[in-house]
């Protein structure tokens, strides 16, 4: 058999995680560079996957299949379609930036405290842990993008929570307006909240997974989907709907969809910015991806049945998230709510059931990953300089740190999906895709773009413009490392905004497949319909 490329892609970061964790405490920087090397190697592998993937080839490619738990028909099945490839590459692409951005976030605190400084001298392990955990998350995310066996997917979908829990609860911003004590309590609150929300979702999904097994007799996505398609496996309407809801609930929590969103602002607000980026740009994508791959393929009828309700929820998320973003006083929470709004767009696109909508949604996942990473990381650099997350503590930064301000502005413009930057393409596709089937919803969603402009520009105005605040007057501009993180992302944003064709070419066939699974066609233009 051929070289198991997909397994390797997922295994490499896992190995990296183990090795990084094993680095002796004193050799802190060695651990960092080791983690970076592994993430880059993973990126290389992901690119190999991208190259080996043939958009016009079969649906799932580079497949691997081994029997795992024979008694329950659980097979270790991997395979990627266009959507999977895009997201695997995105993940592999973002992790190195995240690691670079978090280079000093887990260093021992430099305080006058003798005990701590002795820590710094030797036995400080969290640094290794931080990077090891990030790599672990990467491994799990990648494999859940690749799994074509529901059981395998479920396992890693849930296992992801463990490293994330420690990343959120264990590592916070260096400085905090209420002091380290309050910070740690809020952190643990956020971490527990994250865990509980996702666990509840996961449990319900577990029930649904078992139910699926009872109905279908095995866990293989490909087999079940095929059986569903050619009608050899038909579920009772109610059964299908219940199973669908079970799956969808878990994904909606992860995504997150209103009203299951409240864990995200806490988690993103309290964790360090690289982790926040990890959450919103990488981990949450698993939820939307799974909607596209599992909900639609396994339960086409139920998906159609649930579409109206889901669309309404998505629109609520869009408007609601944007409005709350306007109301935030904390930079990171603001970005979090903005992300909620964006996830609303993604879900909207998925369930619009048009090729524009779903391609747009997939593209949106990629673009949102990049744009949020850009904005959030720059915000992180800003916060690390001033040691406060409150918007009110900034002002006139543009004068002292023009490059920082410029990159921040570009990140913000990407967030408000300015034409010419990547997110515009996806957002417009989603809107068009929704509009051609549900005009009213499309129009309401369109108002999101005004609100997006509002919160982004207000944020920029309050932090960057105006008279220079004394606290920020000595703020240094972006350093080389930070620029190295931000610049590629910005280049990527512009490139994908001007020439998204490479991505759409990979994604489109998969989307068409998915649409045919749910037996949906794009509506005809009125004029041709008339003819």
């Amino acid at each position: 058999m051929s070289f198991p490329l997909l397994t390797a892609t997922a295994a490499l970061p896992a190995i990296g995680a183990v090795l990084t964790a094993a680095v002796p405490a004193a050799r802190r920087n060695a651990a960092k560079s080791l983690a970076l090397v592994f993430s880059l190697a993973t990126l290389a592998l992901a690119i190999v996957v991208l190259v080996r993937f043939d958009p016009d080839g079969g649906r799932y490619q580079l497949t691997e299949s081994h029997s795992w738990i024979a008694d329950f028909g659980v097979r270790y099945e991997l395979g990627v379609d266009g959507i999977g490839v895009a997201l695997v590459v995105l993940t592999a692409l973002l992790i190195p930036f995240i690691i670079l951005a978090g280079w000093h976030d887990a260093d021992p605190l430099e305080t006058g405290d003798a005990s701590l400084s002795s820590y710094a001298a030797g036995r400080w392990r969290p640094t290794q842990g931080f990077f090891a955990l990030i790599l672990a998350v990467e491994a799990m995310v990648i494999i859940s993008f690749e799994a074509t066996d529901v059981f395998v997917f479920y396992i890693f979908f849930e296992a992801m929570l463990i490293p994330m829990y420690f990343l959120i609860g264990g590592f916070g911003d260096r400085a905090h307006e209420h002091g380290e004590e309050a910070a740690s309590t809020q952190r643990s609150y956020a971490a527990v909240k994250f865990l509980l929300y996702n666990l509840v979702g996961g449990l319900i999904m577990l029930a649904a997974v078992i139910g699926l097994y009872v109905v279908a007799g095995n866990f293989s996505l490909t087999e079940i989907a095929e059986a569903r398609a050619n009608g050899t496996l038909d579920m009772a309407t109610n059964t299908e709907r219940w199973l669908f809801l079970g799956f969808f609930f878990a994904f909606a929590v992860k995504a997150p969809l209103w009203p299951l969103h409240t864990w995200l602002p806490n988690a993103m607000g309290e964790s360090t910015t690289p982790v926040a980026v990890l959450i919103t740009a990488v981990v949450d994508k698993v939820g939307t991806f799974a909607m596209l791959r599992f909900c639609l393929q396994l339960f086409p009828e139920a998906s159609k049945w649930a579409t109206p309700a889901i669309l309404v929820l998505a629109v609520i998320s869009i408007i609601y998230g944007a409005l709350l973003a306007v109301g935030q006083r904390d930079i990171k929470r603001l970005v979090a709510y903005a992300s909620i709004s964006h996830f609303g767009f993604i879900i909207l696109g998925i369930f619009a059931m048009t090729s524009q909508g779903q391609s747009g949604a997939t593209l949106y996942m990629v673009n949102h990953g990049i744009s949020t990473a850009a904005l959030m990381l720059v915000a992180g650099f800003l916060i690390s300089r001033r040691g406060s997350r409150l918007i009110a503590d900034y002002g006139g930064v543009q004068k002292v740190a023009p490059v920082l301000a410029g990159t921040f502005l570009i990140g913000g413009l990407a967030t408000l999906s300015l034409p010419g930057l990547a997110p515009f393409v996806s957002e417009f596709l989603v809107l068009v895709g929704t509009f051609e089937r549900y005009p009213a919803i499309g129009i309401v969603a369109t108002f999101g773009i005004v609100l997006a402009a509002l919160y982004t520009l207000v944020l920029y105005q309050r932090t960057m413009t105006g008279p220079v605040k004394p606290e920020v007057s000595a703020m240094p501009d972006l350093r080389a490392r930070e620029l190295l993180v931000v610049a590629p992302l910005i280049v990527l944003l512009i490139f994908l905004g001007v020439y998204p064709k490479p991505v759409t070419d990979i994604v489109d066939p998969a989307v068409k497949q998915t649409l045919s699974d749910v037996h949906k066609k794009d509506p005809q233009p009125e004029v041709e319909a008339a003819k």
């Binding site: 596709l429 005009p439 520009l457």
Partner: protein
């Protein structure tokens, strides 16, 4: 030859990239790079123009297809350009005036340490504006549309340390965004209706008509109204006009280029470009004319009351664009004249703004006209150029404003019926008011005795003529504002040039052209006379008198802003604040409540575990009993 089109855009884009990424090391030469590249693009424009002229009127449409941009299913958006007479006109206007203003800025921004950045933004604006007018489909046009919005955001807020500037910039962007909703919905509608939004198939090219006519009138009206919304946002038409006044926070060259000559006219371009759609939707056209008429009066009235010279000019801009929109709304009768007025207005309004800038330059950035007076002695060139611009805008016979505006008024009457009379009346009234407020500006600035005093630092402003780099553009523009109109109108050159694109029809005017012209002359004289009576005869008070109710209302932009503030801003703030509260208490509270109740329940259950071996034994024993019962039952059944 087609390939030049891309270069047209590429040149300023390159400039923007170089200047913005280049960093400090380019500070010394940055402004010259910017100017050079914009003029390069002007040169390309001239070359293309000559090429078009060399062709015969029918195939003066060049298209260049670069690459497929967003191909998803039936949704095909390409990066393709279309150069026809209409866009050609704009290209020349944009690059020409643009280059002049670049040159002007070299002098004007001399003492600003961020001059390089300024030129970068200016180039960015040029590129975006050219993209807007050269795009071959609405989506690409949208990109340019937002691009100019971004550029204007950056330039209005160029002096970011001034909170007022930052706020104005934000406001401009947001109001434009509201307009953008219109544009994007229009594009969606086009896609769902026609399956395409490219100019070629939609609006027709090379003679044969597009499919725009095939759709039901209802659909067309919807699309047209959405386009109008977009136009209102970009062109500061009622009800989305509120941003233009504040936009004057930006440096004066910006006001001249973006908020007078080019960007704000994009709305007119959009309407004229979509002529095929508007022609199919008469109701929408009526709305357009109404918006135009209202705005031209609105802007004029506001312009009368402002003491800030730039704000007065801004009001005037609003009102002039109102004329254009009005003309555009008249349909084939008016398209050509809308564009013609747009071009001439581009000349004289840019000239006026540059003049104002030069005045401010000499009066160390004083903008209150009540602190000017008698400047004609100190800055003669400015005075002359400004004066020519003034004569042009009020429509003094023979100058360009005369021709273009006169044509529009005629066209308004020519629409026929009552609305013809009403629109025409509005146009005439507008002309009168224009004459009034422009005369007022002229008198307050250049005539009367000097009224300026030492400013806060106590050093007297000593007005002086501006440097060469600033006066040359003013002179050139003055030439334009004098002769352009005549040049265009003699032998209807402009009409014939543009007709293949927009089409043209002579409406049957109830009143003869001569009558209209005479009427225009009369109202003009009246307006000037009133202004002279008020500001020429008696000295101008330095502190503004309280003034009539109308005056006070006009000073406050006829309470438009206050309305927005109270309804939108305050309301929005309350909404968001309450939502934040709801999210924290309700949505979050439900979850936390559940958690708490579960905790309580488990706490109660915990009591059962009292730790006494005997009570555990009891439960074991009871369990055993139950077990036996179960087995017995099993055996029984």
């Amino acid at each position: 030859m087609e390939n030049l089109i891309a270069l047209l855009i590429a040149a300023p884009l390159l400039g923007a990239a170089v200047l913005l990424v280049g960093g400090r090391r380019l500070d010394a030469v940055g402004h010259w790079i910017g100017t050079l590249l914009s003029s390069v693009s002007f040169v390309f424009g001239v070359i293309l123009f000559s090429d078009l002229l060399s062709r015969d009127a029918e195939d003066r449409t060049l298209t260049q297809h670069l690459f497929s941009w967003i191909p998803v299913g039936g949704f095909q958006a390409d990066v393709a350009f279309r150069l026809d007479q209409l866009s050609m006109t704009f290209v020349l206007l944009i690059t020409g005036v643009g280059s002049l203003i670049h040159l002007y800025s070299v002098g004007y921004m001399e003492h600003d340490e961020r001059r390089r950045r300024f030129f970068g933004y200016l180039n960015l604006f040029l590129a975006a504006m050219l993209l807007l007018v050269l795009a071959d489909n609405y989506l690409l046009l949208y990109v340019g549309w937002e691009g100019v919005g971004l550029a204007s955001y950056l330039l209005i807020g160029f002096w970011q340390h001034k909170p007022s500037a930052a706020t104005a910039a934000k406001k401009a962007f947001l109001v434009n965004r509201v307009g953008d909703i219109g544009l994007s919905i229009a594009i969606m509608l086009m896609f769902t209706t026609f399956g395409t939004f490219a100019f070629g198939p939609l609006l027709g090219a090379e003679g044969e008509p597009g499919i725009a006519g095939d759709a039901s009138e209802g659909r067309l009206t919807a699309i047209a109204l959405m386009l109008l919304l977009a136009a209102c946002g970009k062109s500061a038409q009622v009800p989305l006009q509120s941003w233009l006044g504040d936009a004057m926070e930006g440096p004066t060259p910006v006001s001249a280029l973006i908020h007078a000559a080019t960007m704000v006219t994009a709305g007119v371009y959009l309407i004229v470009r979509s002529a095929a759609i508007f022609n199919g939707a008469p109701d929408a056209q009526l709305v357009v004319t109404v918006v135009g008429a209202v705005t031209l009066l609105f802007g004029a009235i506001v312009g009368c009351a402002k003491d800030d010279i730039k704000k007065a000019l801004a009001g005037s801009t609003m009102s002039q664009i109102g004329y254009m929109v009005l003309a555009a709304g008249l349909g084939p009768i008016g398209y050509v004249f809308a564009i013609m007025h747009l071009v001439t207005h581009g000349f004289f309004k840019a000239g006026l703004f540059l003049g104002a800038g030069s005045v401010m330059h000499g009066m160390n950035d004083e903008v209150d006209m009540r602190k000017y007076g008698g400047l004609r002695k100190y800055m003669p060139i400015t005075f002359v150029t400004f004066g020519l611009g003034y004569l042009a805008i009020i429509g003094f016979p023979g100058l360009s404003g005369f021709f273009s505006k006169d044509k529009i008024i005629e066209a308004a009457f020519a629409k026929g019926g009552t609305e013809g009379w009403i629109l025409g009346g509005c146009a005439l009234l507008g002309a009168a008011i224009t004459a009034y407020y422009m005369t007022r500006v002229m008198l307050m600035t250049f005539f009367g005795e000097k009224r300026w005093q030492p400013d806060a630092e106590g050093h007297e402003p000593h007005p002086h003529e501006s440097p060469r780099s600033m006066t040359i553009p003013m002179i050139v523009l003055a030439f334009g504002s004098v002769f352009a109109g005549g040049f265009f109108s003699i032998g209807d050159r402009f009409l014939h040039w543009l007709e293949p694109v927009t089409g043209h029809s002579h409406g049957d005017s109830p009143v003869s052209a001569l009558t209209v012209t005479l009427a225009t002359m009369v109202v003009l004289v009246v307006g000037v006379a009133i202004a002279y009576a008020q500001y020429g005869r008696r000295p101008v008070p330095i502190v503004a008198p309280r003034g009539s109710l109308l005056t006070r209302a006009a000073r406050r932009d006829l309470f438009q802003d206050d309305f927005n503030h109270v309804v939108l801003v305050r309301g929005g703030e309350h909404l968001t604040r309450s939502l934040v509260y709801v999210d924290h208490t309700l949505v979050d509270g439900v979850v936390n409540g559940t958690a708490a109740s579960v905790g309580g329940l488990s706490g109660r259950l915990r009591r059962v575990q009292n730790g006494f071996a005997r009570s555990y034994a009891v439960s074991m024993f009871g369990g055993a009993a139950v077990l036996i019962a179960a087995t017995l039952l099993m055996r029984a059944v």
